[in-house]
Symmetry: C2
Subunit: 407 residues, 2 copies
């Protein structure tokens, strides 16, 4: 597997675009399309929030029932959540308008929305945006980047990624675009993440891969503990690479799974590192746990702790907050036996061992905590299971951004 330039237009047969539709913001791209020249199998996971946005409900049904999908239409600015039956009508109209423009049944059009909860979508602008998107879509790197930019809200950088691997002698490509930033505490998947591939793979195999992947990627990040109403992670596979169908239990399946995991982990880390107001990516690696699930619970608890996050922002080696967050995670362990290290910028120090803080060098701790990527290593000394979770620091800017989000 090799990492290549590009995003959702890297695989064969996928076109994309991002345009200014004026949904809520002016003078910025706020609608995106991903379109495949041929029908795709699809798999996805969605928010576990009881309050599901209208486009989430629509996509869930399509992933479950639709014989194929061929396009994704996304708008930013308005989440189309908390909008009741009206919101569902907007989604349906969007799919119908896109289907008409693309010569597809509406049920082949997946829909994504992100932004403020509550307002109804301005359907005239959505429809005008669809016309622009259909006209602009192209199989170029720039078109893919435009789509990645158009799905951003408070993200500070766009997030695209692509890899290539060989399957049965054919080059298979996977590309992705994602957006995150706030209301990030995915519980099934993240805000919006779209992965496309030209691999030939069956729906069942793709679904199994997606379910396995989210547990260790999008479900292991948190910005603020708030699970969004709009979380959507979709994979579309159009088979245009011409590889023999990827079947479970084969080496090709393992290779594809590894490549897909790389893409999802990369995008998940980027979502965490670009959390609202963040100045650092915080990675917690738990080792020596008794079960995989406990490893995940422990790692997530550390990167979700407001106090641990604020201490990273302040470059303050206040390791007691890490110990505390492990302790209230819900997983059992012996605080007298486990160990905690800081790692970053090529340095690593042991800060807690045998039930006591070590006599660590505060200057080195401050240097590590000043890196853009800070790692917290917790060895539970109970078994062999490991897990990694990603978050960010808690800053003044998080409060600023969210004290005044609607205006």
């Amino acid at each position: 597997m090799k990492v290549i330039q590009g995003g959702v237009t890297a695989p064969i047969g996928f076109e994309a675009a991002g345009v200014e539709a004026g949904i809520k913001y002016q003078n910025r791209k706020d609608m995106a399309i991903i379109w495949s020249q041929v029908p795709c199998v699809t798999a996805g996971t969605f928010t576990s929030n009881v309050v599901k946005a209208a486009p989430v409900k629509w996509d869930m049904q399509l992933v479950a029932d639709s014989p194929f999908v061929q396009a994704v239409i996304v708008n930013t600015g308005i989440a189309n959540a908390g909008t009741g039956a009206e919101g569902m009508r907007c989604v349906k109209e969007t799919a119908e308008a896109a289907g008409k423009a693309l010569n597809l049944p509406p049920k082949a059009v997946l829909i994504g929305s992100t932004g403020v909860i509550g307002p109804l979508l301005p359907m005239d602008r959505i429809k005008a945006g669809i016309s622009k998107l259909v006209e602009a879509k192209a199989h170029t790197p720039e078109a893919g980047t435009n789509a990645a930019k158009a799905i951003m809200t408070t993200d500070t950088v766009h997030k695209e990624c692509a890899v290539q691997l060989s399957i049965g002698g054919k080059a298979v490509t996977i590309g992705a675009i994602s957006k995150g930033s706030g209301m990030i505490h995915p519980n099934m998947c993240t805000m919006l993440s779209y992965v496309v591939t030209d691999a030939c793979i069956g729906k069942e195999a793709l679904t199994a891969l997606v379910k396995a992947d989210v547990k260790d990627t999008y479900n292991m990040i948190s910005v603020d503990g708030d699970t969004s109403t709009n979380d959507t992670f979709l994979v579309l596979a159009n088979g245009m690479a011409g590889n023999p169908e990827i079947k479970p239990g084969t080496q090709e399946y393992e290779d594809f799974a590894k490549a897909l995991r790389y893409v999802n982990e990369t995008q998940a880390k980027r979502l965490a590192g670009d959390g609202e107001g963040a100045t650092a990516l915080v990675e917690c690696i738990v080792t020596g746990a008794d079960t995989k699930e406990n490893a995940r619970i422990l790692a997530r608890s550390v990167i979700s702790s407001s106090l641990t996050k604020a201490a990273v922002f302040g470059k303050d080696a206040n390791w007691g907050r890490i110990l505390c967050a492990l302790g209230y995670s819900g997983a059992l362990f012996d605080p007298e036996k486990m160990e905690i290290c800081y790692e970053g910028g090529g340095q690593k120090i042991l800060i807690y061992q045998d039930g006591l803080g070590t006599d660590f060098d505060e200057d080195i701790a401050t240097q590590i905590l000043s890196q853009p990527e800070v790692r917290i290593l917790a060895d539970m000394k109970m078994g062999t299971e490991t897990a990694t979770a990603w978050g960010c620091d808690l800053t003044y800017d998080y409060v600023k951004i969210n004290g005044d989000y609607r205006t």
Copy 2:
């Protein structure tokens, strides 16, 4: 029942003091004593964090085993958590020193600590502090207030409270001091809250009351989602009011329970409203829930949401975040049927109904959100169960306080 002036020195036979012991800070009171002239029965609840501070372990054992208790010694500045066997030795030495000075067995001395996790207690200063406390203790309102002040860390106001009621013709008094501020997401009880009473009541009855109370008081507040290693809630009853023993199933029991609930709810609200950096108390009242437990889960989820908290700080009527937090709470409900209102400063507005935001007046919403006490009312329209939870807004000062706590 009537509310009276004072705190832990209001009930008969209780003395208190707060002194400067120089544990971590200079020129501020940082050690407190509560002492009863006669032995007390006691009940308490403690943090559910796997990492329990040494004094928590000590108190848990005393509450379980000790035939009586008669004193509480508290220090601030250092939590004595993450300190292993050394930490336990410090607790034992503290109890021994206090026992000697007060002519009590060490196992009659409860210990509390709060502050930074990790460092060991300076035992020479602790012992000198105990001497000062024993000398200074008095049955005066000022002495009680001094104790309330001495247990503060980042609290901006001290928190004491007292009520009086008549039981069997005798005046019975309950008094309390509490501290909170950060690392507040109690799961069994809050940081430190000490309630004393001169009521005559058996250990079993007192234990039952404490267990019932915490569910609706200290367990319903959150400042930052971080469950501390030191959470301790203790009630001491010395029987000096001379009332006939309060027995379960009697009117006197109900009256006492109501008074105790008032004290605990008052202190819990004060802890939430004085959360680190807070400018407003946020109260979420859930009505119409299907079960009591779901009502509690829903109310807690709203006041714990970083995004809802930041929106209150920004006086931004972004009700979608409330709906979102209800949705990811874990409790099931129909988003199309429930209703949400804001209430505060004598005004109340309906903001969400029938699956849609209402056409509410933004100016009134801003007025309500600018009050020092903001209420969020969520009517789930499913049943008759209710619960109330208390939190605070998320501000720049929370980040400032916790970015640089140790220095």
